[in-house]
């Protein structure tokens, strides 16, 4: 259990880190200080599609670097989830975690 929590924290760190990077180019910035609660895309979301894609690709790459396991964050599966993994940093972290556990 502890391991899973640690992994989740690690993933949140990665997404927060990449969000800070993406923020540099954004007028409406991701509220990285909210960490998991920070809205990304969709309802309350502040990202447009290009910012979202930039973030997703960056997270994909970092997750692969960190866990040595490739993940795809934008595919049919991700987009057909009941709760969109793109709505917040927390939701995205959870989705990444679920892919890594598979």
């Amino acid at each position: 259990m502890e391991k899973v929590v640690l992994m989740h924290e690690k993933i949140v760190d990665i997404i927060v880190g990449e969000s800070k990077e993406v923020n540099k180019k954004l007028k409406n910035k991701i509220s990285v200080e909210l960490r998991e609660a920070a809205p990304l895309f969709g309802e309350n979301g502040i990202l447009d599609s290009i910012a979202l894609v930039t973030l997703l690709v960056a997270v994909e790459q970092s997750v692969e670097d960190e866990f040595d396991f490739p993940v795809i964050l934008a595919d049919e599966k991700a987009m057909s989830q009941k709760n969109s993994p793109y709505q917040s940093i927390g939701a995205l972290a959870q989705y990444v975690g679920s892919l890594l556990k598979e």
Partner: protein
């Protein structure tokens, strides 16, 4: 123009140096003798006028003489370099090749295939009119290569006025329209061709120095490699007068570096297509990426930013694809261009445009920016499919630095920030270990 003029020109230039290859010198008289001996060999091997003959070879005096002999014998020539070896069988079949002359061996080999060019309307017309023909393959990076048929007589007409014989390094491929244009221009104008054995910057610079080369036709990718190698600083290249480049658009940053390194050289951007040949063109003095098509035999018009060309030197058609010409003879080049007065700037091929969520990105404009970053040896930008935006921009980068991928990605984003709109900054980056250009020194996208 009568093809006999080719022979007359070779006779007229007699003592002038025609070809230098592997330290061997061939005068025009030597070349004419070689041509005659090939002409006889064709007859001995019962290769009659109208036969489709593939020539597999890289540059050599024999290869040039054989091409000339095939024209005089009114054959349909299919030049192929060994680089295309894996496709040879497909090419032979598509082009209705009946005889294959392989010059890549030290001894030449003639083999026969049972094909019948009379089955194809374009080839049958050529044969009935007793005109020599030329079949070339488009080096399309995607999909099937198209077989382009030219009437060789029509194609050569544009050289009737060729009169400035330069000493040029023949760099472009033997089976590429730009290569064919450069060697026939040289033959018609009494120029001297220097053939390289490899295409390494060191060898090329060595040949320029040794043989006092005046014209270097190359590709932007090769010129970039040349500058990076530093070989131009270790050789005396003062003889160079003109550098031409085509086949892909040269990035601004490269043009600037060329100008700084070769202040005495005129930079000329060429434009050419396998289907149309390359018209003579002039480059804008201040910025060589702008060119003016300067040939009475090529008419241009622009529709929806796309360049259309009409020319009587154009191909007859494709052997394996529908006729692309409009009823009144215009050809849609598929190239998007900017226009400034009489000058054009090629932005890129429609098929290479990356569409990121409805926004258009030309690979070249992104490559230009990334190429300016210190430590970047080479870069190729392409589109990769990605849900949400349809495509994203991917940059494959070859680095001189020891940065990790994430270090470089961060630096690249910071560097691009002021220079590119957000959607054009590559979302995906990969570091390439191997060279990013093909054997033909052209960037490989996708």
């Amino acid at each position: 123009m009568r093809i006999e003029e080719l022979q007359q020109r070779l006779e007229q230039y007699s003592e002038i140096e025609a070809i230098i290859h592997k330290h061997q010198l061939f005068s025009y008289r030597d070349l004419l003798r070689l041509t005659e001996s090939w002409f006889q060999r064709l007859a001995q091997n019962k290769i009659e006028p109208g036969t489709v003959v593939a020539v597999t070879s890289d540059y050599s005096a024999d290869a040039i003489a054989l091409m000339a002999a095939l024209i005089l014998n009114k054959n349909i020539a299919v030049p192929l370099t060994p680089l295309a070896k894996t496709q040879f069988n497909e090419y032979f079949k598509t082009s209705y090749t009946q005889s294959i002359i392989d010059l890549t061996q030290t001894t030449f080999r003639i083999s026969d295939r049972k094909n019948d060019p009379l089955q194809n309307d374009l080839l049958r017309n050529l044969i009935e009119q007793q005109h020599p023909g030329l079949i070339l393959f488009t080096s399309g990076s995607t999909g099937q290569a198209k077989a382009v048929v030219h009437d060789f007589e029509k194609l050569l007409t544009k050289f009737t006025h060729a009169n400035k014989g330069y000493r040029s390094l023949v760099f472009l491929m033997f089976d590429h329209i730009a290569g064919i244009d450069s060697y026939f221009y040289s033959l018609y104008s009494g120029g001297t061709m220097i053939f390289p054995v490899s295409r390494l910057p060191k060898e090329i610079c060595g040949l320029i120095e040794k043989h006092r080369v005046e014209v270097l036709p190359a590709s932007p990718t090769f010129l970039n490699l040349l500058l990076l190698s530093g070989e131009h600083l270790r050789h005396d290249l003062d003889s160079l007068k003109i550098i031409t480049f085509g086949s892909e658009r040269a990035p601004q940053s490269l043009l600037k570096r060329l100008k700084n390194n070769f202040p005495q050289v005129r930079l000329v951007q060429k434009y050419g297509l396998t289907e149309l040949g390359s018209p003579s063109s002039k480059s804008m003095e201040a910025d060589a990426s702008w060119l003016k098509i300067d040939s009475p035999r090529f008419k241009t018009k622009i529709i929806n930013k796309r360049l259309h060309i009409k020319s009587d030197a154009a191909m007859l058609g494709y052997l394996n694809a529908p006729d692309p010409f409009t009823g009144d003879g215009w050809f849609d080049t598929g190239d998007t261009v900017e226009v400034k007065g009489e000058y054009l700037r090629i932005l890129g091929r429609e098929s290479e445009i990356i569409n990121v969520g409805g926004e258009k990105v030309f690979p070249v404009e992104v490559e230009e920016v990334i190429q300016m970053m210190p430590g970047v040896e080479d870069v190729v930008v392409s589109g990769v499919p990605y849900p949400i935006t349809g495509q994203i921009v991917k940059a494959s980068v070859q680095l001189e630095t020891k940065e990790t991928l994430s270090e470089f990605r961060q630096r690249m984003r910071d560097f691009c920030e002021e220079k590119l709109p957000r959607f054009k900054i590559p979302q995906k980056v990969t570091l390439a270990k191997d060279s990013l250009h093909g054997d033909r020194f052209k960037k490989m996208r996708g």
